[in-house]
Each structure stands twice: as structure tokens, then as C-alpha cells.
Subunit: 405 residues, 2 copies
């Protein structure tokens, strides 16, 4: 039984321009943490923010978490889809979203704490719990409201049943580890010489894919830096370019057509995250170069729209932005249905997502492409992710690896 | 100079099922109020919520309002578009939206307080200040970020210049008053006999248009009540049906095809407010019946998408939901460009919007259709709206009529 809950506002300053991009010039990586205390176990979940207002997410999380006091975690998770629906639609609080912004970040924090507590109670890593669930148990974790015009609960169940036969074979990933890509080589405020140095070092450390922040006021700068990195690492390394919403549609079309020349693996967040139709137009204009999007997309309804328009080459749903693990899985199912790979944004620094991408591969049959890696908060986690030779080693501790010191 | 700011959390309980709809069963109409104190004047603005979490909107408003201390209101409003852009994109706080949910409600509260203070300083009602502005002064109030693919600042200026010649003629509305429609006849929790009684009374009081809440679990109930109201008021009165997001797409198609039979003037908020493509499909399916939407649409980017898909027959942008008066005007310009009428949702009970619809008609050339009227909070305002024979009388007090007792 969940005896008590606490919410904590944890903030970490970054050094020397780390974390900077075209829009977020000086972020303080922060977590709005929920702890659910039940017997000897403490479930930990969080949402990610950039500092200011993290206290508001904590308060929203507390609003939801209070409603779980006195509940048994196994009972909650047996049908968490209904729990999620009820919390997400509390009739007064819902007005503040619905299903977006601070209230939804608060729900993410609480949902993730539930999944962590559940895995700790069962004394297994979250990936192990999730990959061991039956198709029926998985769909009961999800709220299909407003997505049933493209994916009903019954169709999702069928998809999961179809994937069951190949699950055992895909477990091979657990030994091999999940490939990582390195986001920390090319932050916006880093100098040209620093990004070249970092890129070469990352490749030497085994990474096969790197990210560069673009979206400068002077577009020549973006193009120059992209070329510098391509020259530094050669043509066998994937380079992803991330504009963090900096461009409007016209500017995006113009610059993306220039950036094409360095053969980017994707171009990420080119414009406003609510602009379904601008992404559609841009994707059609710059094909075959693909767009990656989702870091700021708050819920399954908007992801459904992006998938329906065919504008996303890669979906970067983040379980600490949408309503937590439950909605992450729902969005991953939608992506599978549309044949679009899931490459999460890791507001959690990969702690939680290392579990979720294993589940996505093993149980949903998603391609094991790669997972973003950001190292800056490692020292603050009790069980930091382990990367060796560019690969995430499969976590073995019980829970979702989200406990903070 | 703005010397100090205060934020107040004001909540009002409603009686006997007033305010209830299919989703919001027991709302407490609430305002997250910003007061800007400058010399002898106090600017008042607010965002609207349904109770729980109103304190979070107050905190978000305080975050923005603190940044205005020491500024001169005339200087702020000479180029408020840039002020809005800077506030809305504060690099850490922005993560919590962007441009949606609690942070954007907070910005609405602060923006509206700025417009109120501005009008009070000039000692005129807000409608008079706005309708007296030059086209150049109007566009300088607006942030065109991410909508320039359909409306540039230059094109907006041209639109306003084109409307200038007919402004004088349209001032006739000030004498005539702006027509109201009555939302309070058919709340969700009202009995059948109550809605029939209220509808007849509203017509006797001069209203020519009424709203009924639908979205019952039992669809027969919706259809029965819609027929009851039509029979009670006859065929010359407009009836609007409001589902408050209760349906998914399939259900919306099925029920709307039934509700068509009572000849509704519009069907409002049929499904999730983020679902651009579901609205498009529904609008195409049930034409010529039109959809009204916007009560929960948070920003100009999403409104742009709805307009681009042609799914909205009426746009119900609410200046206490989007980022305040500034974004309301921008959305109204977008609507004008697409030829779609603006019929605001009145979270403000019409206090602020009575000014804005006069501006929309006189300066933008929008049709003076009608404005929602909800009477439940009248006694709490210093200058409550005045309705006579179904018409809003033009307010004469300086400011935006938003001061609360």
C-alpha cells in the first residue's frame, strides 16, 4: 500500500555551455521528482524541465500523487490505463491542459514513479517486468482515448500478439547492449574547435552517430559548423542536426536545403512543435532527408496527427514529457502501426529510456536503432547508465534506474 | 511606471449545476488575477480556470509580471509584440509549454493587465483605445512568430489599411449594441424541464440564440433534449450544441449525423482540442452543419492549423485562454484572412470580450455576429456587463471592465 508521497525539486547547473541550443541558452537541467513510499520500497519518477518553474511541476505532481495514497501498486498497475485516464481528466485540473504543459509533466512524474515502484516490488529491472507482460497486460496499461480512430485497443492487442513469436530472438539485444548516439559533442554555445575536438573524441570512444545544434541567427554559421563536423568524422558516421524549433517554415525550407549537402541522418525540431502542417510541408519539400520530432510534443493525440500527415521520419517521444511510461508505450504502438522508428529524446539522460527502448524492440518489434546519450548528470544518479564502446549496457538493478542521490 | 504587482487567486462556487458540461461536472469558476500598480492606476487582467490549480496559474503570472516592474506602460504597449515574444520565450520557463497550459494562462493574465492599465491611463474604454489605433500601432502589438507562412506582418498591415475606409460606418454598432447569445439555459446537469423553462425565458428576454450542452453517455438523451429545446423555441431561434470534447471521432460522426435533424447553428468542441485531423474529417462528414472550436486551443500556431484544414466554421478563441488580448487579435486577423467568423468563448463572462468583439467588427471588419453571455459571476465585477433585450450595451468605463470586487 502506498503510505505516503513526497515531491522534490532538484536542479543542476551545467558548465561551460553544456545543454545550450538555439532557443535554450542557459538551461539548468531539473527534475520534478515524485517518491511513492510503500513498505520498504520507494518508487521514484520524474519529469524533466530546464529550471524555472520546476516547482510548479512538483505541485502538479503532488496533486495527482495524493490521490494514490492508500492504493496497492499491483492493483493500480492492473489496469493503469483507467487510472491514467481518471487522473488526466480530473474535471477541474484538466482545464489547465488538457493533456499538456505543467499538468501533464506532473502526471509523467507520478506515472513514472508507479512503474518504478512496481518493478522494485517485483525486484526486477523495469525492462524485465515490461518484456515479461502478456499482450493483455500491456494494453491494460494504456488509455486509448482519442486515438481509436487509428488504433483501437483490440488492434493493439493483435499487434502485440503478432510480435510474440519473435520476442525470444530479439532478446539477443540484452547481451549485445543498445547502441547509443552522442548529443554532447555539439552544443550551441561550443566553439568550432570544441565541436571538432568533441566529435573526433566521440568517434574514438566508439560512437557511430553524433548530434550538432543548429539554428543560428546567421545561417552561414550552421552550414559552416555542419561541414566542419562532417569533415572531421568522415562519411561513415551519422550526423543529426537539431534546430530546437528556431526556424519558421520559410526559413526552415531554405536552410534545410543547404544543410542537405552534408547528408544529415535527420533534421530535428525545425519549427514550432504544434505546427502539424508546417512539418508536413517541410518534410515533403526536403525529402529524402527526414525530420525527427517529438521532444516537445505533449500527448498521443498530437503524435497521432504527426504520424497521420507522414511528416515524421523519426519520433522522439520522451517519457518525461508525455504523461509517463504509459503514454510512451501508447505512442510507440502508434509509431509501429505507421512504420516510424522511435528514438526517444532523453530528458531523463537515458536512465528510464534504456529500459523502454529494450521493451520497444523486444515486445513491440521496433528496430533497435540507437538511443540518445547525454552524460552531464551522471554523478547525480544512484545507478547511472553504463556506456561502453558506444553501447548502453543492459541495466540489472531493480526498478527504472531513476533514483537520484 | 509599474511600481508593483500582485497576483490573486479568486474562486467562486456555482449553484445547482450551473457551469456543468459533459467533461466538467462541478466547476468552480476561478480567476488567476494580475494587478499592475502604476501611479493612481491599477491594471487588472486575468486567466480563467475551473478551480483546482488556479494557484499554479497565479504563480506563472507572477513570474512574468515581476519582469514588468519599473517599466512604463506606454513604452511597453508601443511594440507589445516584442514584449510578448520575449516573455513567451523565456528560455527556461518556455520548456513548460511552449505557449500552452499553465504558463500561457499566466501570460494571458499579465498581458490582459497591461491592456487594462493602458486604457485606464488613457482614461478610455479598451474598445475605444483599440479602435482608435493606426494599422501600424495594431500590428506592433502582435507577435507573428510561426504564423508568417500564412500571414506576414506586412500582409496584416495591408488588411488593416484596407478596412480603414469602412471603420466609421461600422461604428454604428456602438449605438446599437452587440448581440448576445445565452449559454446558461442548458447546462449539462439541468433537468429536461429546467432547460425548456430556461429556453422559453431566454427567448422572452430577447435572446435569438441559445446553447445546449450535449455529450451524454446515453446519446438518446442528447437527441431528446435537443429536440425538446427546438420544439420549445421554434425554428427562428438559433440552437448551438456543445459536446465539450466528450466524443472520439467515430462517436462524433454518428451522433452529429443524428443531431443534424434539429438544425443546429453549430456543433461545438466535438472531440479533443488538439486533434486537427479528426476535426477536418468530421467537418467534411457532417457538412453543411458547421463546427465551432477554440475554447481549449492555446495558441496562434494551432489556430493556424485548424484554419488551414478548413475544419472550423466558427473560431471561439478566448483571450483568457490564449496569451491574452495580443494573441486574440492575431488569431482574429488569421480568421479574417480565412473568412471564418470569431465568436469568442467567454471565460471572462464577456467582460473583456465585449470590448474585443467591437474592435474585431470596427477595425478588422469581422461580421458582428453575436457574443456568448454567461451571467453567473455578475455580482463579483465592479462594472458587470449590461445586457438589455439580448444585446450587450457598449461599456463606457475606462479600461477593460475586468476589475473584481
Amino acid at each position: 500500500m502506498i503510505r505516503s508521497v513526497t515531491n522534490r525539486d532538484l536542479r543542476y547547473s551545467l558548465e561551460n555551455g553544456a545543454g545550450s541550443d538555439a532557443i535554450h541558452t542557459n538551461p539548468h537541467y531539473s527534475y520534478a521528482v515524485t517518491n511513492l513510499i510503500s513498505g520498504d520500497h520507494t518508487g521514484t519518477g520524474f519529469a524533466f524541465t530546464l529550471g524555472a518553474g520546476n516547482e510548479l511541476v512538483c505541485q502538479a505532481a503532488a496533486f495527482y500523487a495524493q490521490q494514490l495514497i492508500g492504493k496497492d501498486i499491483e492493483e493500480l498497475m492492473h489496469g493503469y490505463g483507467e487510472v491514467f485516464k481518471k487522473l488526466a481528466n480530473e474535471q477541474q485540473f484538466r482545464w489547465l491542459g488538457p493533456h499538456k504543459g505543467i499538468v501533464h509533466l506532473g502526471l509523467a512524474s507520478v506515472t513514472n514513479a508507479c512503474f518504478d515502484l512496481w518493478a522494485k516490488k517485483r525486484n526486477v529491472p523495469l525492462w524485465k517486468l515490461l518484456t515479461g507482460l502478456s499482450p493483455e497486460a500491456i494494453v491494460s496499461l494504456l488509455d486509448f482515448s482519442y486515438v481509436e480512430d487509428v488504433l483501437t485497443k483490440e488492434a493493439a492487442l493483435q499487434m502485440l500478439q503478432n510480435e510474440a513469436a519473435a520476442k525470444q530472438q530479439r532478446m539477443a539485444i540484452l547481451e549485445k547492449g543498445y547502441t547509443a548516439y552522442d548529443t554532447s559533442v555539439g552544443w550551441f554555445n561550443y566553439s568550432d574547435s570544441a565541436i571538432v575536438h568533441n566529435a573526433k573524441k566521440a568517434v574514438a570512444n566508439g560512437f557511430k552517430a553524433l548530434k550538432l545544434k543548429v539554428g543560428s541567427a546567421a545561417e552561414e554559421k550552421d552550414i559552416r559548423r555542419a561541414k566542419l563536423i562532417r569533415e572531421a568524422v568522415g562519411n561513415d558516421i551519422k550526423i543529426m542536426l537539431d534546430a530546437n524549433q528556431q526556424w519558421d517554415l520559410q526559413k526552415a525550407i531554405r536552410i534545410c536545403n543547404e544543410l542537405k549537402k552534408i547528408d544529415p541522418y535527420w533534421i530535428e525540431e525545425p519549427t514550432h512543435p504544434d505546427d502539424i502542417l508546417a512539418h508536413k510541408t517541410l518534410a515533403e519539400t526536403i525529402a529524402p532527408v527526414k525530420l525527427a520530432l517529438g521532444e516537445h510534443v505533449p500527448n498521443s493525440v498530437l503524435f497521432k496527427n504527426f504520424l497521420q500527415t507522414g511528416s515524421a521520419g523519426f519520433i522522439q517521444v520522451d517519457a518525461v514529457r508525455v504523461g509517463g511510461v504509459s503514454e510512451f508505450i501508447l505512442v510507440s504502438l502508434l509509431c509501429k502501426k505507421f512504420g516510424v522508428p522511435v528514438v526517444p529524446h532523453v530528458g531523463d539522460m537515458g536512465q528510464l529510456h534504456q529500459h523502454l527502448v529494450l521493451f520497444n524492440h523486444i515486445s513491440l518489434g521496433h528496430e533497435a536503432l540507437f538511443l540518445e546519450h547525454i552524460p552531464h548528470l551522471k554523478k547525480h544518479f544512484v545507478h547511472p547508465v553504463k556506456i561502453e564502446n558506444g553501447v548502453y549496457l543492459t541495466p540489472q538493478e531493480p526498478g527504472s534506474s531513476c533514483d537520484l542521490k
